[in-house]
């Protein structure tokens, strides 16, 4: 079973290549291939979680090149959790996309699989340069997906997104050059050991490298002042793509947690960049709440809710106690799935509203007003953090773990502002409707996919205690970088 670690990268890679080979007219075959590959990720991710939950850290040395020299994949609890979350989010998004959205442009399914490969790779790799490569894989696929379908708004948002990320990649390379120049290694475990022994000029260069990486990950995570690209790109992307992108900001958060909790965990650079991170997270939280209130389209509003969750999460991360990290992970699972579901819901609402689409103006009633209204109500309660759904549990756990008045104020105040924005949106869309829209019934599978994502929030609330305990176990392992370092370097030595 040791080869299972690489399966979350290989399955989408092979599926993606197969999908590129297939002939143009076989849309059903493509859908089937894509869905089967995505479905297969769920048992694989569950198996990996089972392996990691025991507390062992799995190390997979590619090509049997021993550890600090070759590239390693590392499976600890944190990576296993993120891979599982990706699989759970991807399946409903793909089911939704397979109901017609995939016909609006070429190669939707292939790009979707390659995107999954990049995301899973970024979560599993134990090498800094390899992290860069997987970032590029997921970015290239995401460029294609963000532009899927047509429209000037999409191209405009797309250009901004691509240029910003290219600059981000350039900064990442500079950071990697500095890291390699000072320590002579790019393996995260080995780097952590070497960097804690640095002094003098090398130490300053390593600090510079770390801070540059913060900027890059901050851009990926959409942290203030680098989040302005997100609402335009996400709101103009097609719904299943936007839903999948809900995990993309979390890749940035994961990278901050990994590099900060592991690579820069020891020596003089411990806690590097923590204070600015805390302040920026709080500013993100506050500004995103204003964005929610000012949004003119439902998709844009959900995008700002996503940025708000990023602020909430990064603040919990910057507090950097195991308890805060565990609570943050619970909130991360909740916010990813709920925001994904809300993106799908926004698309369902906009169908049948004709020209108005998801603009927040009174217009024809959306098809299936009762069902969609109830879903919107549940989703809003969850994302704002009112009892009894999972957002409430997540926020309470975070507030208990992070006893800082300014954080409490922003979390609660932001929640209130978001609640006002969402109530206004809901009453405009569902209550002030003028007559019925086009006569069409709701599409079954689309509705099922949306319900599946939104239904995770009561599930997370009902099984709140075991999930929170699992998150705290992940946090406990994350807070002891020594375990990870020993596992990786030990695997290298035992292979000799």
């Amino acid at each position: 079973m040791e080869h299972l670690i690489i399966a979350p990268i290989l399955i989408p890679a092979f599926a993606g290549m197969l999908l590129l080979l297939e002939v143009r007219e076989r849309q059903r075959l493509r859908r089937l291939t894509g869905l089967l590959a995505t479905l297969a990720l769920i048992p694989v991710a569950l198996g990996l979680w089972q392996q990691a939950a025991s507390g062992d850290i799995g190390v997979y040395q590619l090509g049997d090149w021993r550890a600090p020299f070759g590239i390693v994949l590392v499976l600890d609890r944190l990576s296993a959790l993120m891979v599982l979350l990706t699989a759970v989010l991807a399946l409903p998004a793909l089911i939704y996309g397979s109901r017609g959205d995939d016909r609006r442009g070429a190669n939707f399914h292939a790009l979707f699989q390659l995107q999954l490969m990049g995301i899973n790779g970024a979560f599993l790799t134990g090498d800094l340069f390899n992290l860069f490569v997987f970032f590029e894989v997921l970015l290239i696929a995401s460029y294609g997906l963000a532009l899927h379908g047509r429209g000037p708004a999409r191209v405009k948002g797309g250009i901004h997104y691509v240029v910003l990320n290219l600059i981000g990649s350039a900064l990442f390379l500079v950071a990697l050059g500095l890291a390699y120049g000072t320590t002579g290694t790019l393996n995260m475990a080995d780097f952590a050991v070497k960097v804690s022994e640095l002094e003098g000029n090398s130490l300053d260069l390593a600090r510079l490298s770390g801070l540059l990486m913060w900027v890059v990950f901050g851009l990926k995570a959409a942290l203030f002042p680098l989040y302005f690209w997100l609402p335009a790109t996400y709101a103009s992307a097609t719904a299943p793509v936007a839903a999948l992108f809900a995990i993309m900001t979390k890749v940035g958060i994961y990278a901050i947690a990994r590099v900060y909790g592991l690579a820069f965990s020891g020596g003089a650079l411990a806690g590097l960049g923590r204070d600015p991170l805390w302040i920026l997270a709080l500013i993100t939280l506050g500004l995103a709440a204003v964005g929610v209130l000012g949004a003119r389209r439902l998709g844009e509003m959900v995008a700002y809710l996503l940025v708000m969750s990023v602020g909430t999460l990064v603040a919990g991360l910057a507090w950097s106690s195991p308890a805060a990290f565990g609570a943050m992970l619970y909130y991360l699972i909740h916010s990813t799935l709920v925001c994904g579901g809300l993106f799908l819901l926004a698309d369902l609402v906009s169908r049948g509203r004709g020209e108005l689409a998801d603009r927040l103006e009174a217009g024809p009633s959306p098809v299936g007003r009762g069902v969609l209204g109830a879903l919107f109500f549940a989703g809003a309660i969850a994302v704002v953090g009112l009892p009894p759904l999972s957002g409430f549990i997540g926020k309470v756990a975070l507030m208990q773990a992070v006893p800082a008045p300014v954080y409490w104020l922003l979390l609660l105040g932001g929640g209130l502002i978001a609640l006002i924005g969402l109530s206004r949106a809901g009453s405009t869309l569902f209550w002030r409707a003028t007559g019925d829209g086009e006569e069409r019934s709701l599409d079954g599978p689309r509705l099922a996919a949306t319900v599946a994502l939104l239904a995770t929030t009561p599930a997370l609330a009902i099984w709140g205690e075991p999930v929170l305990e699992a998150c705290l176990a992940v946090a406990g392992q994350w807070a002891q970088p020594g375990l990870y370092i020993d596992a990786v370097l030990g695997a290298g030595e035992s292979a000799l």
């Binding site: 691509v162 240029v163 350039a170």
Partner: protein, 111 residues
């Protein structure tokens, strides 16, 4: 040689940053290309500069480091593909928005 390389990298990155901040897609693409050249050189130099040395430890006095060359090769390939994609995207933007302004808006005085 260190000073010369440092100056070359600084010039490339400086020009790249300036061009990237322009409002038209074409200078932006050129700027990103220059930026990536500068960055690639930077990564290449991170293995220290040495002339006529064997890339195997123990064969010569100062072994040269082969790893940055592998890294920079990867970075060049990725950067090239990204630039090609950006060119196609800019062309499509020109076609769909009838303007090569990065915001798709009407023409200002810059250009």
């Amino acid at each position: 040689m260190e000073v010369m390389l440092a100056l070359i990298i600084a010039t490339l990155v400086g020009c790249g940053v300036y061009l990237t901040l322009r409002a038209r897609t074409f200078p932006v693409i050129l700027g990103i290309t220059l930026l990536s050249y500068g960055v690639n050189l930077f990564v290449f130099v991170s293995g220290r500069l040495s002339l006529n040395q064997v890339p195997v430890v123990g064969m010569s006095e100062n072994a040269s480091d082969p790893l940055p060359q592998a890294l920079v090769l990867t970075a060049i390939v990725i950067g090239f593909a990204m630039t090609a994609f950006l060119v196609v995207l800019a062309l499509r933007g020109q076609g769909e928005m009838k303007s090569d302004h990065v915001d798709g808006g009407s023409d200002g005085e810059d250009g």
